[in-house]
Symmetry: C2
Subunit: 109 residues, 2 copies
DNA sequence: ATTCGTTATGTTTGATAGGATATAACGCTT
DNA sequence: AAGCGTTATATCCTATCAAACATAACGAAT
Protein backbone atom coordinates (compact mmCIF):
# COMPACT_ATOMS: atom_id res chain seq x y z
CA UNK A 1 0.00 0.00 0.00
CA UNK A 2 1.39 3.32 -0.98
CA UNK A 3 0.17 6.75 -1.84
CA UNK A 4 0.45 8.32 -5.26
CA UNK A 5 -0.23 11.77 -6.58
CA UNK A 6 -0.31 13.77 -9.72
CA UNK A 7 -0.32 17.51 -9.78
CA UNK A 8 -0.58 20.02 -12.57
CA UNK A 9 -1.15 23.67 -13.22
CA UNK A 10 -4.03 24.89 -15.32
CA UNK A 11 -4.62 28.09 -17.20
CA UNK A 12 -8.12 28.95 -18.41
CA UNK A 13 -9.15 25.44 -17.37
CA UNK A 14 -6.61 23.91 -19.73
CA UNK A 15 -3.58 21.97 -18.52
CA UNK A 16 -0.43 24.06 -18.66
CA UNK A 17 2.30 22.00 -17.06
CA UNK A 18 2.19 18.64 -15.34
CA UNK A 19 4.25 15.55 -14.72
CA UNK A 20 4.39 14.30 -18.31
CA UNK A 21 5.00 17.66 -19.92
CA UNK A 22 7.81 18.53 -17.57
CA UNK A 23 9.41 15.17 -18.18
CA UNK A 24 9.26 15.90 -21.90
CA UNK A 25 10.59 19.40 -21.48
CA UNK A 26 13.48 18.01 -19.49
CA UNK A 27 14.31 15.55 -22.22
CA UNK A 28 14.20 18.27 -24.86
CA UNK A 29 16.60 20.29 -22.76
CA UNK A 30 18.88 17.28 -22.49
CA UNK A 31 18.84 16.27 -26.16
CA UNK A 32 18.28 19.69 -27.77
CA UNK A 33 15.77 18.01 -30.10
CA UNK A 34 12.06 17.36 -30.03
CA UNK A 35 12.32 14.23 -32.13
CA UNK A 36 15.12 12.80 -30.02
CA UNK A 37 13.20 13.56 -26.83
CA UNK A 38 10.10 11.87 -28.24
CA UNK A 39 12.08 8.80 -29.15
CA UNK A 40 13.72 8.64 -25.73
CA UNK A 41 10.33 8.79 -24.03
CA UNK A 42 8.84 6.36 -26.53
CA UNK A 43 6.13 8.70 -27.69
CA UNK A 44 5.34 9.80 -31.22
CA UNK A 45 6.90 12.97 -32.51
CA UNK A 46 3.47 14.37 -33.11
CA UNK A 47 2.32 13.86 -29.55
CA UNK A 48 5.48 15.46 -28.23
CA UNK A 49 5.06 18.38 -30.58
CA UNK A 50 1.43 18.82 -29.57
CA UNK A 51 2.27 18.80 -25.86
CA UNK A 52 5.03 21.33 -26.30
CA UNK A 53 2.82 23.45 -28.50
CA UNK A 54 0.15 23.46 -25.80
CA UNK A 55 2.70 24.69 -23.28
CA UNK A 56 3.92 27.41 -25.59
CA UNK A 57 0.50 28.72 -26.49
CA UNK A 58 -0.43 29.04 -22.81
CA UNK A 59 2.87 30.44 -21.62
CA UNK A 60 3.34 34.18 -21.34
CA UNK A 61 7.01 33.92 -22.19
CA UNK A 62 8.84 31.81 -24.81
CA UNK A 63 9.66 28.32 -23.63
CA UNK A 64 11.51 26.97 -26.65
CA UNK A 65 13.78 28.24 -29.39
CA UNK A 66 13.46 26.12 -32.50
CA UNK A 67 15.55 25.87 -35.61
CA UNK A 68 14.43 24.20 -38.82
CA UNK A 69 17.07 23.03 -41.27
CA UNK A 70 20.77 23.69 -41.08
CA UNK A 71 23.40 21.62 -39.35
CA UNK A 72 21.97 18.31 -38.21
CA UNK A 73 18.61 19.38 -39.54
CA UNK A 74 17.97 21.88 -36.80
CA UNK A 75 17.09 21.49 -33.15
CA UNK A 76 15.36 22.99 -30.16
CA UNK A 77 16.66 24.79 -27.09
CA UNK A 78 14.81 25.34 -23.85
CA UNK A 79 14.82 28.96 -22.70
CA UNK A 80 15.78 30.08 -19.22
CA UNK A 81 12.11 30.55 -18.51
CA UNK A 82 11.44 26.99 -19.67
CA UNK A 83 14.17 25.73 -17.38
CA UNK A 84 12.68 27.63 -14.48
CA UNK A 85 9.37 25.90 -15.12
CA UNK A 86 11.13 22.55 -14.87
CA UNK A 87 12.88 23.39 -11.62
CA UNK A 88 9.85 24.94 -9.97
CA UNK A 89 7.54 22.10 -10.88
CA UNK A 90 9.95 19.43 -9.79
CA UNK A 91 10.58 20.94 -6.38
CA UNK A 92 6.86 21.46 -5.92
CA UNK A 93 6.24 17.85 -6.82
CA UNK A 94 8.89 16.59 -4.45
CA UNK A 95 7.55 18.71 -1.62
CA UNK A 96 4.09 17.36 -2.26
CA UNK A 97 5.30 13.76 -2.23
CA UNK A 98 7.11 14.31 1.05
CA UNK A 99 4.05 15.93 2.56
CA UNK A 100 1.79 13.10 1.48
CA UNK A 101 4.19 10.41 2.58
CA UNK A 102 4.11 11.95 6.02
CA UNK A 103 0.33 12.37 6.14
CA UNK A 104 -0.10 8.85 4.89
CA UNK A 105 1.55 7.41 7.98
CA UNK A 106 -1.26 8.80 10.10
CA UNK A 107 -3.93 6.81 8.31
CA UNK A 108 -5.45 3.47 9.20
CA UNK A 109 -6.49 1.65 6.04
CA UNK B 1 -3.76 29.85 -13.32
CA UNK B 2 -4.43 27.43 -10.55
CA UNK B 3 -3.01 24.24 -9.20
CA UNK B 4 -4.79 20.91 -9.33
CA UNK B 5 -4.03 17.52 -7.85
CA UNK B 6 -5.24 14.00 -7.79
CA UNK B 7 -4.17 11.51 -5.19
CA UNK B 8 -4.89 7.86 -4.74
CA UNK B 9 -3.77 4.87 -2.77
CA UNK B 10 -2.47 1.75 -4.45
CA UNK B 11 -2.18 -1.82 -3.35
CA UNK B 12 -0.01 -4.25 -5.30
CA UNK B 13 0.36 -1.53 -7.91
CA UNK B 14 -3.38 -1.44 -8.48
CA UNK B 15 -5.56 1.55 -7.57
CA UNK B 16 -7.39 1.00 -4.31
CA UNK B 17 -9.10 4.27 -3.50
CA UNK B 18 -9.01 7.62 -5.21
CA UNK B 19 -11.08 10.66 -5.91
CA UNK B 20 -13.66 9.02 -8.18
CA UNK B 21 -14.08 5.87 -6.12
CA UNK B 22 -14.57 7.79 -2.91
CA UNK B 23 -17.11 10.01 -4.59
CA UNK B 24 -18.98 6.89 -5.67
CA UNK B 25 -18.71 5.29 -2.26
CA UNK B 26 -20.14 8.43 -0.72
CA UNK B 27 -23.08 8.38 -3.09
CA UNK B 28 -23.75 4.73 -2.32
CA UNK B 29 -23.73 5.59 1.35
CA UNK B 30 -26.17 8.39 0.69
CA UNK B 31 -28.59 6.47 -1.53
CA UNK B 32 -28.12 2.96 -0.12
CA UNK B 33 -28.09 1.70 -3.69
CA UNK B 34 -25.44 1.05 -6.30
CA UNK B 35 -27.79 1.70 -9.20
CA UNK B 36 -29.10 4.94 -7.69
CA UNK B 37 -25.55 6.11 -7.01
CA UNK B 38 -24.53 5.32 -10.56
CA UNK B 39 -27.45 7.25 -11.92
CA UNK B 40 -26.71 10.24 -9.70
CA UNK B 41 -23.12 10.34 -10.89
CA UNK B 42 -24.19 9.73 -14.49
CA UNK B 43 -22.13 6.61 -14.90
CA UNK B 44 -23.27 3.19 -16.04
CA UNK B 45 -24.25 0.64 -13.41
CA UNK B 46 -21.58 -1.62 -14.77
CA UNK B 47 -18.81 0.90 -14.28
CA UNK B 48 -19.99 1.64 -10.75
CA UNK B 49 -20.19 -2.03 -9.93
CA UNK B 50 -16.72 -2.65 -11.33
CA UNK B 51 -15.19 0.19 -9.35
CA UNK B 52 -16.79 -0.96 -6.13
CA UNK B 53 -15.79 -4.51 -6.84
CA UNK B 54 -12.19 -3.42 -7.29
CA UNK B 55 -12.28 -1.71 -3.92
CA UNK B 56 -13.75 -4.74 -2.24
CA UNK B 57 -11.30 -7.23 -3.69
CA UNK B 58 -8.36 -5.14 -2.53
CA UNK B 59 -9.75 -4.26 0.89
CA UNK B 60 -8.85 -6.38 3.88
CA UNK B 61 -12.20 -5.71 5.53
CA UNK B 62 -15.73 -5.64 4.08
CA UNK B 63 -16.66 -2.28 2.58
CA UNK B 64 -20.22 -2.99 1.49
CA UNK B 65 -23.20 -5.06 2.62
CA UNK B 66 -25.38 -5.93 -0.33
CA UNK B 67 -28.89 -7.34 -0.48
CA UNK B 68 -30.45 -8.84 -3.58
CA UNK B 69 -34.23 -9.00 -3.75
CA UNK B 70 -36.66 -8.09 -1.00
CA UNK B 71 -38.16 -4.74 -0.21
CA UNK B 72 -37.43 -2.26 -2.99
CA UNK B 73 -35.46 -4.94 -4.77
CA UNK B 74 -32.58 -4.84 -2.33
CA UNK B 75 -29.85 -2.30 -1.70
CA UNK B 76 -26.34 -1.70 -0.47
CA UNK B 77 -25.01 -0.36 2.80
CA UNK B 78 -21.54 1.02 3.41
CA UNK B 79 -19.83 -0.55 6.42
CA UNK B 80 -18.18 1.43 9.20
CA UNK B 81 -14.86 0.55 7.64
CA UNK B 82 -16.07 1.86 4.31
CA UNK B 83 -17.16 5.08 5.95
CA UNK B 84 -13.78 5.43 7.59
CA UNK B 85 -12.16 5.13 4.17
CA UNK B 86 -14.32 8.01 2.96
CA UNK B 87 -13.49 10.25 5.90
CA UNK B 88 -9.78 9.51 5.89
CA UNK B 89 -9.40 10.04 2.18
CA UNK B 90 -11.36 13.26 2.16
CA UNK B 91 -9.39 14.83 4.98
CA UNK B 92 -6.15 13.73 3.36
CA UNK B 93 -7.28 15.27 0.10
CA UNK B 94 -8.26 18.53 1.74
CA UNK B 95 -4.97 18.72 3.58
CA UNK B 96 -3.12 18.15 0.35
CA UNK B 97 -5.07 20.87 -1.44
CA UNK B 98 -4.34 23.35 1.35
CA UNK B 99 -0.69 22.45 1.30
CA UNK B 100 -0.42 22.88 -2.45
CA UNK B 101 -2.38 26.10 -2.47
CA UNK B 102 0.14 27.47 -0.05
CA UNK B 103 3.18 26.18 -1.91
CA UNK B 104 1.76 27.48 -5.14
CA UNK B 105 1.89 31.05 -3.92
CA UNK B 106 5.66 30.81 -3.74
CA UNK B 107 6.05 30.08 -7.43
CA UNK B 108 6.72 32.44 -10.30
CA UNK B 109 5.14 31.12 -13.46
C1' DA C 1 21.93 20.33 -56.97
C1' DT C 2 21.48 16.61 -53.68
C1' DT C 3 21.37 14.75 -49.25
C1' DC C 4 20.21 14.78 -44.45
C1' DG C 5 17.74 15.33 -40.12
C1' DT C 6 15.00 18.41 -38.17
C1' DT C 7 10.46 20.98 -37.42
C1' DA C 8 5.64 21.14 -38.88
C1' DT C 9 1.08 19.31 -40.17
C1' DG C 10 -2.65 16.50 -42.17
C1' DT C 11 -4.87 12.05 -42.74
C1' DT C 12 -5.82 7.42 -41.83
C1' DT C 13 -5.75 3.45 -39.04
C1' DG C 14 -6.18 0.88 -34.70
C1' DA C 15 -6.81 -0.12 -29.89
C1' DT C 16 -9.41 0.19 -25.89
C1' DA C 17 -12.28 2.00 -22.42
C1' DG C 18 -16.86 2.90 -21.65
C1' DG C 19 -21.86 2.74 -22.98
C1' DA C 20 -25.72 0.26 -24.35
C1' DT C 21 -28.17 -3.78 -24.26
C1' DA C 22 -29.69 -8.27 -22.60
C1' DT C 23 -30.53 -11.66 -19.16
C1' DA C 24 -30.85 -14.00 -14.76
C1' DA C 25 -31.37 -14.56 -9.67
C1' DC C 26 -33.32 -12.91 -5.66
C1' DG C 27 -36.86 -11.93 -2.03
C1' DC C 28 -40.35 -8.73 -0.20
C1' DT C 29 -44.97 -6.99 -1.42
C1' DT C 30 -49.40 -7.45 -3.20
C1' DA D 1 -48.32 -16.57 -8.07
C1' DA D 2 -46.96 -12.32 -10.17
C1' DG D 3 -44.57 -8.03 -10.16
C1' DC D 4 -41.01 -4.98 -8.96
C1' DG D 5 -36.35 -3.01 -8.39
C1' DT D 6 -32.22 -4.42 -7.02
C1' DT D 7 -27.58 -6.92 -7.61
C1' DA D 8 -24.80 -9.55 -10.92
C1' DT D 9 -22.67 -10.64 -15.35
C1' DA D 10 -21.86 -11.34 -20.37
C1' DT D 11 -21.78 -9.52 -24.96
C1' DC D 12 -21.88 -6.17 -28.43
C1' DC D 13 -21.26 -1.57 -30.14
C1' DT D 14 -19.22 2.89 -30.42
C1' DA D 15 -16.77 7.07 -29.52
C1' DT D 16 -12.49 8.80 -28.52
C1' DC D 17 -7.66 9.14 -28.27
C1' DA D 18 -3.20 7.85 -29.66
C1' DA D 19 -0.25 5.57 -33.06
C1' DA D 20 1.17 5.18 -37.73
C1' DC D 21 1.89 6.93 -41.97
C1' DA D 22 2.63 10.50 -45.32
C1' DT D 23 4.35 14.85 -46.90
C1' DA D 24 6.40 19.44 -47.02
C1' DA D 25 9.64 23.25 -45.78
C1' DC D 26 13.95 24.43 -44.29
C1' DG D 27 19.06 25.32 -44.33
C1' DA D 28 23.84 23.74 -43.70
C1' DA D 29 27.15 20.47 -45.70
C1' DT D 30 28.91 17.91 -49.45
Amino acid sequence: MDIKSRLWIEKDGKPFIGYGRIKLLKEVDKTASISAAAKALKMSYKKAWNLLNDIETLATQPVLVKNIGGKNGGGTQVTDYGKSLIVQFETLNENCINFLENEYKKLEL
